[in-house]
């Protein structure tokens, strides 16, 4: 075996610096160095731009597709008085300005007010397309509109960031875009794939909480306890159960915090159990069921804040059970793995009640999530 001797390097020869070196060979070494020093970033900008352009073209396709799907759905399923295209285009472009948070005091109330005003506005204007449409149909169209609006906003922001970087020939400006684009694409693709699911009124992965509570509510009297939120009372081994979920089969998450507030104001509650879908970490198996403490609820944070405030003021412990899933699984058709866990989670809820409460106590069980395709 022959070994290379690395101690005997002639640097003059290596860098072609000796007197007898061909000057052309020297240029071949030195010119690229200068070239890459001055134009390296620009070359990287061009290479990266190509990738980002493909992503933006896809995003453009998604937003157009979602808009067309929405318009076709409205035209096909509603009795319309006028052409809805102009109105829908106006809704899609609607934006929300979040309140100033320099002084965070009272910010949750302000955010809740703005978000609810937007929801109410959208609902009423969607209804104006065809005043005789059912609430389920209305919730479907509202969800489709939210998807189209979100995809439009994502496209506009990403395109703006890209064009600004290109205009300024600024490579560092394009780096954050390159880093976030895969995540944005994943979420956008999930939203695009969610469209047919909401159109057909099928349950999504996020609906696992309402699905479990919905089944527990069957054969019990239901009442509307808050806007798009239903309550049913049942019993389990001498304990009173207050079952709460968004009103299905419409596509809504309801207002569980308002429902809880009403229940707590009229009854002495000893525990709250929340069932929700949670984002799985990379490497974690989908449809894994885990238990924990604290309010399991996503969204903008106002519902969570309100639930925590109620629980704290009344000293009620909050337990939670979550079913892990990816972003895509959460908003697209429920997978078999997630659906198969419903019975297991229900068993775990009863175990949790037995372990943490005693006979004669009252428990609120909230099925958190979108109730599309999940009645009660």
């Amino acid at each position: 075996m022959s070994l290379v001797n690395f101690t005997n390097i002639d640097f003059d020869q290596l860098f072609a610096m000796s007197d007898d070196t061909n000057p052309i060979m020297m240029l071949i070494w030195i010119l690229p160095i200068f070239f890459f020093v001055f134009y390296g970033q620009r070359i990287q900008l061009y290479v990266t731009s190509g990738e980002i352009k493909k992503g933006i073209a896809k995003l453009d396709g998604f937003r157009n597709e979602s808009r067309d799907e929405l318009i076709n759905y409205v035209k096909k399923n509603l009795k319309l008085n006028n052409d809805p295209v102009q109105k829908i285009d106006r809704f899609i472009d609607y934006f929300t300005i979040m309140p100033v948070d320099m002084d965070p005091n009272g910010i949750v109330d302000k955010v809740r007010h703005i978000v609810r005003s937007r929801e109410d506005y959208t609902r009423e204007h969607v209804r104006s397309l065809s005043p005789q449409m059912s609430d389920v149909e209305l919730s479907k169209i509202q969800t489709l509109l939210e998807i189209a609006s979100s995809l439009q906003m994502i496209y506009k922001i990403i395109n703006h960031m890209f064009l600004t970087a290109k205009k300024q020939n600024n490579y560092p400006l394009i780096l954050p875009l390159q880093m976030i684009l895969p995540f944005i694409m994943e979420q956008s693709e999930a939203m695009k794939e969610a469209i047919p699911v909401f159109k057909k009124g099928q349950p999504v992965g996020d609906g696992i909480g309402p699905m479990i509570i919905g089944k527990m509510m069957l054969k019990h009297k239901k009442e509307t306890v808050a806007f798009q939120t239903v309550l049913a009372k049942s019993e389990f081994e001498g304990r009173e159960l207050f079952l709460l979920k968004a009103e299905g089969p419409g596509s809504t998450v309801g207002r569980p915090a308002d429902g809880l507030e009403k229940i707590v104001s009229e009854n002495k509650i000893d525990a709250i159990i929340m069932i929700d879908a949670a984002l799985k970490m990379e490497g974690e198996d989908s449809a894994t069921v885990t238990r924990g403490f604290g309010a399991a609820i996503g969204g903008i944070g106002t519902e969570k804040f309100e639930i925590e405030a109620i629980a704290t003021s009344k000293n009620i412990p909050i337990f939670s059970i979550v079913v892990k899933q990816s972003v895509k699984e959460a908003i697209t058709l429920m997978t078999k793995e997630i659906a198969d866990k419903a019975d297991d989670v229900r068993t775990q809820v009863y175990e949790m009640i037995q372990e943490n409460t005693t006979q004669g106590q009252s428990i609120v069980i909230i099925g958190v999530g979108n109730s599309a395709g999940v009645p009660q």
């Binding site: 057909k200 349950p203 069957l218 089969p249 997978t335 997630i338 659906a339 009645p375």
Partner: protein, 59 residues
Amino acid sequence: MIFSKKKITLDYTVEKCSKCGMQRKRKFSEGDVLFSECSKCDSCDGVYFIEKIFGETLE
């Protein structure tokens, strides 16, 4: 991308007899809603309810 495989998701409905617990799986059809009554059970006098609606992905 060249190497990415297109995935197809097929949607299914699982019906379960409320009395004998017999289950049957079929393709989802428009109008299927969870917990709704479907048909009478073939093996007992119970009724089939929609137990699950889910998607299975083929690669």
